[in-house]
């Protein structure tokens, strides 16, 4: 078995020259996106740009050369989440002096709009022609901007958004990699339906109350971004709920189960994204002739998207985030990226490359800003004692 695996890896490893040629388009694209058309002037900004560019392209180079996807994706994905939190919190403290969101800021429409709010704004927007979120329509962190990005990424990647775009997912992805073996192994299949129930409830409740129910009550990531000032028992209860959900679903359970429990068992946007997987051209397929039913893919899938039934059908579930962990883990190379409607027998790594270009570019674009910003702030902190 080990010999077969080594042989399979050897066949997917590309030559340095060919890898370089395949990486050239990504180098050009990431350079364009990171610079935004103009080179920064400050020394620390120039250093951050160069370091970010090299870091991103090194990871992409290794992905292309080794044939491994998740091994290098996860590094950037976790970096994105950590840098996002660092950059976001430091910005809040610089602008507002605290992470707490005051009522005055909400009235002014100063709350940043994130992609997790999208499902609950759709029906009220149709019914009342208003957006039930105290954010800006245009500008940075705006509602219109996030909607456009969400539609674009959903069309390009489907639920791949959860592993190649979401700036929160890297937190639990990171925690899920701490232990070598899971302590909790058996989770009832029925809980994988919970995200759909949460989606149904937050959509109905948001339409009923004309307020972003998920943001107010459930979003665990408010713990590491911003939250409403505690001025009443109601807000205190809300705070206890979302902090508990963060500790439970983003920290403790991912460590114990080695899975992304918030994404796989709770996130309403993830449930909505599963629907977009149906219309997306990329998918993960299972070659039933090669599969030896070792169930390794079932054990490693972070979002509970593969079970015995999937192996029988040769397809993963709609909740697949296309992270590539199962593809990397399969000793028989029975799992592979695939473009719907194309042959299942021709050179399969081409499909992976076709997926990697848009997926990595999305990740690099979203991560670029936060990684650079976090790096500049860290340099400032070290050299001047202040982040600004």
């Amino acid at each position: 078995m080990k010999k077969n695996t080594t042989e399979a890896s050897a066949t997917t490893r590309r030559s340095l020259f060919k890898t370089f040629l395949l990486c050239l388009p990504m180098m050009l694209l990431t350079f364009m996106m990171l610079t935004g058309g103009s080179m920064p002037t400050g020394g620390e900004r120039l250093f951050a740009l160069a370091a970010t560019f090299l870091f991103f392209n090194l990871l992409f180079f290794l992905m292309v050369r080794t044939g491994k996807t998740d091994r290098f994706r996860s590094i950037l994905f976790i970096t994105l989440a950590v840098c996002f939190v660092f950059s976001f919190i430091s910005n809040l403290i610089a602008v507002r002096g605290s992470m707490a969101l005051s009522r005055a800021t909400m009235i002014e429409g100063g709350a940043p709009f994130c992609h997790l709010v999208i499902p609950m704004t759709l029906i009220p927007a149709v019914l009342t022609k208003t957006i039930i979120f105290p954010g800006k329509i245009l500008g940075s962190y705006s509602i219109a901007g996030m909607f456009v990005i969400w539609i674009g990424v959903s069309l390009a990647l489907g639920r791949g958004l959860c592993s190649w775009f979401c700036f929160f997912g890297g937190l639990e992805d990171g925690f899920s990699r701490i232990l070598k073996k899971p302590i909790i192994k058996n989770i009832s299949k029925k809980w994988t339906y919970l995200p759909y129930a949460v989606l149904l409830v937050v959509v109905l409740m948001s339409a009923l109350t004309l307020s972003p129910t998920y943001c107010q009550w459930l979003c665990p990531f408010k713990t590491v971004t911003e939250f409403v000032e505690i001025t009443s028992v109601k807000v205190l209860i809300q705070t206890i709920i979302f902090v508990s959900l963060f500790i439970g679903l983003v920290v403790v359970l991912p460590i114990l189960t080695k899975r992304r429990t918030q994404c796989g068992l709770f996130c309403p946007l993830g449930a909505l994204q599963s629907v977009t997987n149906k219309t997306n051209v990329f998918e993960i397929r299972i070659d039933q002739d090669k599969c030896v039913q070792c169930n390794k893919c079932i054990r490693v899938c972070p979002t509970f998207s593969i079970d015995e039934e999937s192996l029988g059908r040769g397809r993963v579930k709609a909740s697949c985030t296309k992270c590539g962990k199962c593809v990397d883990a399969c000793p028989q190379k029975a799992l592979f990226y695939h473009v719907k409607g194309t042959s299942l027998s021709s050179k399969l790594d081409r499909y992976r490359l076709l997926f990697l270009y848009p997926a990595f570019l999305v990740l690099a674009i979203i991560a670029g800003r936060f990684v650079q910003d976090a790096m500049v702030k860290a340099i400032n902190l070290i050299t001047t004692g202040t982040m600004i």
Binding site: V198, L200, V201, L208, S232, L236
Partner: protein
Amino acid sequence: MEAFILGLSNGTTCVAYCAPVLVPYLLGEGKGILQNSVLTAQFLLGRLLGYLLFAVLAWGINRSILQGVSKPDLVIGPAYVVFSLLLIYYGFFKTRTSCKTTCTHGLRHKLMTILPVSIPMIAGFVTGLSLCPPFLLAFTGAVEKTTVIQSMFFFFAFFLGTSIFFIPLPFSGLFRGFSALRIIGRMAAGLIGVYYLYSGIMMLIGGYTI
């Protein structure tokens, strides 16, 4: 007519209040259109009973009988707590009874058999007691009536106006073929139960500010 138009104009708000309770339940039961129509009718009957209760209350207020009740939340709050706990149990813990011989003995089995029938009516009754703005408007209108019959007719007309919007709900049963939807519906009902549990507790503690 005034009450009917009031109900009609505010029906979408009423259905928005009730749909989070009724739709997950209908999906959770996974029955056909006919059975769902019966469940919806039970729900509406419960709602009507809630309305009629308020009609009596309105008349009572009109006659200054219930002036002593200063905190109605202390009556409605415990009801929310009890019924929401029932909903949570239904959503996450209730298992279907498949063998009739095991259902004939014991209080637990009796409850398991009775509750699925009565839950829609109880839920309808509880949502009927919701003090939403259109309801308060109707209540204010009913308070103006001088006899209990007039007050009840007023609320009945209001109920008819709002009930028109419930007609599409039984068609949730079209999804009964998908077993996953049943699980999702039950879990959603359980989550709604958590919301009502919170509402009940807040009513009891009076929403103190710190």
